[in-house]
Amino acid sequence: MMRKWRTMGLTTMGSALLLLAACGDNAEDNAEASGSNGNAGEANEVADNQSNGDTNATTNASDAELSGEIEFMTLSLLPAFEDYLNNMIADFEEMHPGVDVTLRDVPFEQAEQLVLTQASSGDLPDVMNLNTDFVKQIAAYGALVNMDEAAADVKDDFFEGLWTTGYVNGATYALPWYTTTSGLIYNPDILAEAGFDAPPSTYEEAWEMSQVIYETTGAYGEVVDEQMHMLLPKHDIPTVDEESLTATFNTPEAVELWTHLKEQYDAGLFPDDVMLGQVAMPELYAQERVAWWATGPQLFRQVNDLDPEVYEKSLAAPALLGPAGRQHANPMNISVSSSSDSLDAAVEFAKFVTNAENQLEFGKEASVLPSVAEAAEDPFFAEGEDSEDAMERGRFYAAQQLEDAVNMTPSVEQVSQVNEIIRDSFHRVILEDMDPQVALDQAEAEVNALLQ
């Protein structure tokens, strides 16, 4: 009898374990998520909310008949942009009296789990603000509306390189929303100490300068971070083919790149803890242990938060260019659930959120860039070239690159896994001295197995 009760007790505890395994909170500072977009939370730091203009996109006859309830899920935009979002929603509801929009802001790091939970109960939010990787992942299951069809009338408004951000399985499943390309924040004191008066403009220059900087000052120059998989497309090495069926990154150029990076690592020119996500770049920069940091200019503010003195003396420059000659852009996305009960209204609202007027307003509020060409033409984004403030100047450079920027993430539903395979493969080269060619062969085989 006692044994029976004991066994039952153990079973209960085991069951609890399973629940814990299945219900853990994601406290991870998810590298993939920040890779998809690291500016959602950062945008919250903008304090001043302005009223939204009310001369929004013109309505047509069919719009007036729209009706239904829409749940709009955003990522970490409240409370900083509460006024902006509420005003925008009020404008839309005024244009469409039959539509009722409910705003629901969720923490960035919990968004995916919340979406999955709601998907399990068949109750996805009608309009969702999602990161790129997740769009591709769930679009493949038919959960999202095909925007090539539903939003064909606004497709040409967006930058061509950004429209395909949510592209997977032959169609686009998201409207690009606010975005950013990279700028370069640099520490002129470290450069001067190493004998340089300007930052590098290409990766080649960057590594040459890094050696001198490291030898003369002990600080790092160029640093390989967690997003190393982006180095391949930046060096004009595509990850997968156009049909998204085969890995295409196992090339002599990739072997050369990895061999070169391994040499830099062995020479002590970049640390492994940044690459493995153990140390955050803003901390490294604020401690003056690195000469520059290439990232979205809206993130420069993090340096100011950590050490205002370092930020004060910092300057901004255009981001480094690789052989591809183009910048990677990381838009946030607006997607519509294909199971929405108010599908027409939801699509219309998604178009409204991402129209030029609203994107321009949000760009000004949050120091981010619009993904719509008309909004990007505003004089606001042409300002800052001579600014002493690194963030303002960085935004100017980032805006200049918007026209040619392209989202470089591979157009496959398993994008996170593909990136992980490439990263792990590179880590084997760096940490376990694996031959770059062998590592790339392995990674190619793994990705091919995944895609077929």
Binding site: M2, R6, L10, T11, T12, M13, G14, S15, A16, L17, L18, L19, L20, A21, A22, G24, D25, N26, A27, E28, A31, E32, E112, Q113, L116, T117, A119, S120, Q137, I138, Y141, G142, A143, P271, D272, D273, L276, G277, Q278, V279, R289, Q414, S416, Q417, D424, H427, R428, L431, E432
Partner: protein, 285 residues
């Protein structure tokens, strides 16, 4: 009869909650382990495929090994060391309450905060490497080296769990009759003999309990790995529960994740039964 009614009255609500939030989800999860379920797809029965896939996956084996290695480092330390500390803080000494508080304090800190603190301390430029450098050691990448990462994580777990298990032993020690020690002293037993022949046998049920609880804790540890290393470098700190999390919530392979969970469940059951057999066939007797 009267007492039984009262007992059922008190037990009914927790039992109902357990039924709703533990037993029913567990049974459903077991069912899901035989499907290719993800929230965006209709259920499809796949038989034992998920279990077969798990046993053919090198990542599953390495995660299981990481879990067992972590358990081997953590559980003996958390079973044995707190006994000595509990014995020490059970003495009638001046300021003993302060010692109890100091040892228990890490338990009060949340796992995420603990993880971040130790992440900074284990960093290449962290305080641990700084002190090591003072005595001539080179910088060690505690959390970036595949051989050092699990021991580092185990150390943090021991640091945090130490006071928790000490408290269990302390409670257990209160129940050991003092006259046993007095009799042993009259027979000429020394400090170690007294504790080896009296304390350990008397608190054996608690040792078994701590072994089971710390074993389960070690096997289901997840937050620490997620926060401190994300399972890296190269999956060398990916434990089974972290793998379950990644498969379920990052790759949407809920069926496969459920199957891994039940394999882990079976392993924990087995380990617990072995523990029970080793310690005593009937620890509560």
């Amino acid at each position: 009869m009267y007492k039984a009614r009262h007992a059922w009255g008190f037990l009914s609500l927790p039992m109902l909650l357990l039924l709703i939030f533990t037993f029913i989800p567990s049974v459903m999860a077991f069912g899901l382990s035989f499907t290719s379920y993800n929230p965006f797809r209709p259920l499809e029965f796949v038989g034992l495929t998920n279990y077969v896939d798990a046993f053919q996956s090198s990542l599953f084996y390495s995660s299981m090994w990481n879990t067992i290695y972590y358990w081997i480092l953590v559980t003996p330390a958390l079973v044995v060391l707190p006994i000595f500390v509990a014995i020490l803080v059970n003495q009638k000494l001046k300021g003993v309450k302060l010692f109890r508080l100091v040892f228990y304090f890490p338990v009060l800190v949340s796992v995420v905060v603990t993880a971040l603190l130790w992440k900074w301390m284990f960093a290449r430029e962290g305080i641990i490497n700084y002190f090591l450098s003072l005595v001539g050691f080179e910088q060690i990448g505690w959390l970036t080296g595949s051989t050092t990462v699990i021991p580092a994580l185990a150390f943090v777990t021991i640091w945090q769990g130490f006071g928790y298990y000490m408290l269990f032993y302390l409670a257990s020690l209160q129940g050991v009759p003092k006259d046993l020690y007095e009799a042993a002293e009259l027979d000429g037993a020394g400090f170690w003999q007294k504790h080896f022949h009296i304390t350990i046998p008397m608190i054996k049920p608690m040792i078994f309990f701590v072994t089971v609880i710390s074993t389960m804790g070690a096997f289901k540890e997840f937050t620490l790995m997620l926060t401190m290393t994300g399972g890296g470098p190269l999956n060398s700190s990916t434990t089974v529960v972290l793998l379950v999390f990644k498969e379920a919530f990052e790759r949407l392979n809920m069926g496969y994740a459920s199957a891994i969970s039940f394999i882990l469940f079976a392993v924990i059951m087995l380990v617990t039964l072995v523990n029970q057999r080793l310690l005593d066939k009937n620890p509560n007797a």
